[in-house]
Amino acid sequence: MSKPSMKLSLDKKHNLTGWIFLTPGALLILFMSFVPMIKALILSFKTGNGGALTWSDPIFRNYSQMFKDTVFIQSIKNTFFYLIIQVPIMLILALILASILNNRNLRFKGAFRTMIFLPCATSLVAYATVFRTLFANNGLVNLVLTKIGILSQPYSFLTHVWSARIIIVLALLWRWTGYNMVFYLSGLQNIEYSVYEAAKIDGASPMQTFFKITVPLLKPTILLTAIMSTNGTLQLFDESVNLTDGGPANASITMSHYIYNLSFKYVPKFGYAAAMSFLILILVAILAFVQMKVGDKRD
C-alpha cells in the first residue's frame, strides 16, 4: 500500500466506494447500449444490400432518401396520427380514472385498480391478436352489432382505412391507460389530503378541485407520462404488425414496422433502416424537449 492512498479523506473514500458500485453498471450500459448506438450511427452512413456495405455517397444519402420514400412518409403520417389522437385521450382518461380511484370513500378500490391495470400484464402480441379476432368479419364485435341491428351485414373493420386506424387507437387505449393511471395514482398519494379538505370547506366544486389542485400538483407526473407515451408511440411496432399487418394498403403501418420490413422482410438495407431509426430518435428528442419546455414552468 502506498502512502497517498492511506491519506484519502473520508469524503474521498465515500466517493470511491460510490464509483466502485457504479462501474459495473456503467460499463455494461456503455458496451451494451452506447457502443451499439454509435455503431448504428456509423451504419446509417453506409449503403448496400445485406452484408456488403460501403460508405454512401454523398454521406447523408440515406437521410435524404427517406424523404423521397412514399411508404416511409405514409408511416410517419400514420404514427403521428396515433400520437396526436391517442396520447391525449389516453392521458386524460388515465387522469380521470386516477382521481376517481383516489377517492377515499370509494369501495373495492383495490379491485378496480387491479382491473384497470391488468391489461398491462398481457403480452403485446397476444392482445393484438385478440383485438384482431374481435374485429374479424365473424368476430364478436360484428356479431353483436348485427344481432342488435346496427349493421345489416358484418363490416370489415380491418380492411377499411379509418376503421383500421381507429381500432389500433382503441387497442392502445385499452393496453396503456391503466399503466399511466398507476403513475397518476402514485403522484396523487403525494398530494396532502388536507388540501382537498380545505378546498371542500372553501366551497370548491369537484371540477374546480380537479383543475385547480390535482392537475397543477401532478404536473411533473403528467410531463413524465407524456414523454414516455410519445416515445412509446413513435416506436409502435407490435400492434401494426399483429393487428393490421400495416394494412389496408399501408394505411396503418408504423415507422418501426417499416424499418423491420426493410431489414428482415425485404432485401436487407441496414444502412437505410439505421438512418430511419435515427430519425425516430431525433423526433423523440425534439418532442420531449418541446414537452419539457411547455410543461416545466419551474422558476
Binding site: 452484408g51 399487418d245 394498403a249 399501408n250 425485404y266 436487407p268
Partner: protein, 449 residues
C-alpha cells in the same frame, strides 16, 4: 496455427452466446447447440476425410406436421444405411430462420447457423445474392438436379449454380365443395379447364343458390394475384431484373379479374390466415384456390369427408400464354457454409430428397408431394383419396406441377409483392388501375436503388 484460430473463434462464439443469452433463451440454446455440432462435425471430418461415416447434421425447418416430419423420415431412411449418422431437427419458424440468417450473415459469424436449413423458394434468390458467403454451391454435390421439375429448381439457381435441393410442391389446385356446387346444379366438371369468366358465372349461380362465395382470400396479401400472374407465365420482373409492372398487360388483366371477383361477391376477403382457413373449413365458403399444401388444412374438416374435389385453376381471358396451372409457395433445402461435414450433408440430401422413392412414399401422408420426377411413378401416388371422393389427387398434382409455367422471382420479390398488394387494395376500393400500377412500380424502383 489453425487449431489456435479455431479455439479463438470458439471462445469468441461462446462469449457472444453468453452475451446473447441476455436477449433470448432460445437463441442461446440454439447457438450453444450449434457450437457443439461444429465440434462433432469437425471431428468427424478429420476422422473420415472424404467419405461420410458417422457425424451429425443439424437442420432448421418449421412445420412439425409437414417439413419437420419429412426431415425426420428422411433421417430414418438414411440411417438404415448409415446407422451412426445423427440428424437433429430444430423447430424454427420461417420468420426466425430469416432473422437468424440475416443476423449471422451480416455479423460475419456463421457459427450459429445449422448445417442444413429449409428456405422459402420466394426468398431464395434474395438470400443467396445478399449473402453469397453463407451458402454452399450444390451443383457438383452429387444431387441430380435434372430429375426435379425445372420450374421448381429455377428458384434456387443463382448465376447458373444450384444452391438448393427442392423439397415440396407448390402446384396450385382449385378445391371445391361438391355438395355445395350440387345445390347450384353444378358439378366439378363445370370447373375443370375453365376461364375466370366462366368461374365468375358459376360463382354467381352458387351465390344465388346458397349465399356462399366460391373463394376467400386474405386481404392485403396478394397470393391469388401472384398465382394468376404465374399461370400466364408472367412475372413482376424482367429477365434483366428491372420491374415489369406498369407495362405488364397480364397484370392489368389479373387486377381487373380480381376486382370483378370481389365486386360480384364471388370472392370474399378476410383479415387473417386463421380466418381464411376457417372460412372454408367451417363451410362459409364453397372452395379455395391455393398451393397444393392447402390440402392439409382442408383435411382438418373431417365432417366434410368425401365432399371435396380437386381440379385445375381457371385461366385468364385475353392473355396469350394463359394456362390453368400455377405455383404458390414451396421450399428448398440449402446447405450453409457453416456445415463442417459437407460430404455428409451432400450424400444425405442426394440419397434422400434427391434419390429415395421410399421417402416420398412415406411423407405423402402429410401432403408433401414430390417435385422429384421418379417419385411420381410410385404406386402410392396412384392411390385414391377418400376425402376427395376417391380421386387420385397426388398423381393429379404431380401432373399439374409439370405444366406450371416458370416465372422470375428476382431479388426484390417481397418488395414487388407488397407494392402490388397495396395497388390491389386501392383498386378494389375504386382507384384507377394504371395510376396504381405506376405507383407500385415507382415504389419497387425506389427500393431497388
Amino acid at each position: 496455427m489453425k487449431r489456435k484460430l479455431m479455439s479463438l473463434l470458439l471462445v469468441g462464439a461462446m462469449t457472444t452466446a453468453m452475451f446473447a443469452g441476455c436477449g433470448s433463451s432460445s437463441d442461446d440454446a440454439a447457438s450453444t447447440d450449434n457450437t457443439a455440432t461444429t465440434n462433432d462435425a469437425a471431428d468427424a471430418s478429420t476422422e473420415s476425410g472424404s467419405s461420410a461415416e458417422g457425424g451429425k447434421l443439424t437442420v432448421w425447418c418449421w412445420d412439425p406436421a409437414f417439413n419437420i416430419f419429412s426431415m425426420e423420415e428422411a433421417a430414418k431412411v438414411y440411417q438404415k444405411d448409415h446407422p451412426d449418422v445423427d440428424v437433429e431437427v430444430i423447430e424454427t419458424p420461417w420468420e426466425d430462420v430469416q432473422t437468424k440468417l440475416t443476423t449471422a450473415a451480416t455479423s460475419g459469424d456463421l457459427s450459429s447457423l445449422p448445417d442444413i436449413l429449409l428456405m422459402q423458394d420466394n426468398a431464395f434468390q434474395k438470400n443467396v445474392i445478399s449473402y453469397p458467403d453463407a451458402f454452399t454451391d450444390l451443383t457438383d454435390s452429387g444431387v441430380d438436379f435434372s430429375q426435379f421439375a425445372a420450374g421448381k429448381t429455377a428458384y434456387s439457381v443463382v448465376d447458373g449454380k444450384n444452391y438448393g435441393v427442392p423439397f415440396d410442391n407448390g402446384a396450385v389446385i382449385a378445391c371445391y365443395r361438391t355438395d355445395v356446387l350440387e345445390q347450384a346444379g353444378l358439378t366439378i366438371d363445370d370447373f375443370t379447364d375453365i376461364t375466370w369468366d366462366q368461374y365468375i358465372e358459376n360463382g354467381k349461380k352458387v351465390l344465388d343458390a346458397t349465399g356462399k362465395p366460391l373463394i376467400s382470400m386474405q386481404a392485403g396479401e396478394c397470393d391469388l394475384i401472384m398465382m394468376m400472374l404465374q399461370s400466364a407465365g408472367s412475372s413482376l420482373f424482367n429477365e434483366d431484373g428491372t420491374a415489369n409492372i406498369v407495362n405488364n398487360d397480364t397484370l392489368k388483366v389479373v387486377m381487373e379479374t380480381y376486382k370483378e371477383l370481389k365486386d360480384t361477391g364471388v370472392l370474399t376477403e378476410v383479415n387473417s390466415w386463421d380466418e381464411y382457413v376457417g372460412s372454408f373449413v367451417s363451410g362459409d365458403v364453397a372452395g379455395t384456390i391455393n398451393g397444393c399444401w392447402i390440402m392439409a388444412s382442408i383435411k382438418t374438416a373431417e365432417d366434410q369427408n368425401g365432399n371435396w374435389a380437386i381440379t385445375d385453376m381457371p385461366s385468364l381471358v385475353g392473355v396469350d400464354d394463359a394456362t390453368n396451372y400455377s405455383n404458390n409457395g414451396g421450399s428448398s433445402w440449402a446447405v450453409t457454409s457453416n456445415c463442417q461435414n459437407k460430404d455428409l450433408a451432400f450424400d444425405f440430401l442426394a440419397s434422400t430428397f434427391g434419390g429415395s422413392t421410399e421417402l416420398y412414399d412415406n411423407i405423402l401422408s402429410c401432403g408433401a408431394i414430390a417435385t422429384w420426377a421418379p417419385a411420381g411413378d410410385s404406386d402410392k401416388y396412384a392411390e385414391g383419396d377418400d376425402f376427395f371422393g376417391g380421386d387420385a389427387v397426388s398423381a393429379k398434382i404431380v401432373d399439374f406441377a409439370t405444366k406450371v409455367p416458370s416465372n422470375i422471382t428476382g431479388v426484390y420479390y417481397y418488395e414487388a409483392r407488397d407494392a402490388v398488394a397495396v395497388a390491389t387494395t386501392n383498386v378494389i376500393n375504386g382507384a384507377d388501375i394504371a395510376t396504381e400500377l405506376q405507383t407500385a412500380e415507382d415504389t419497387v424502383n425506389f427500393n431497388m436503388q
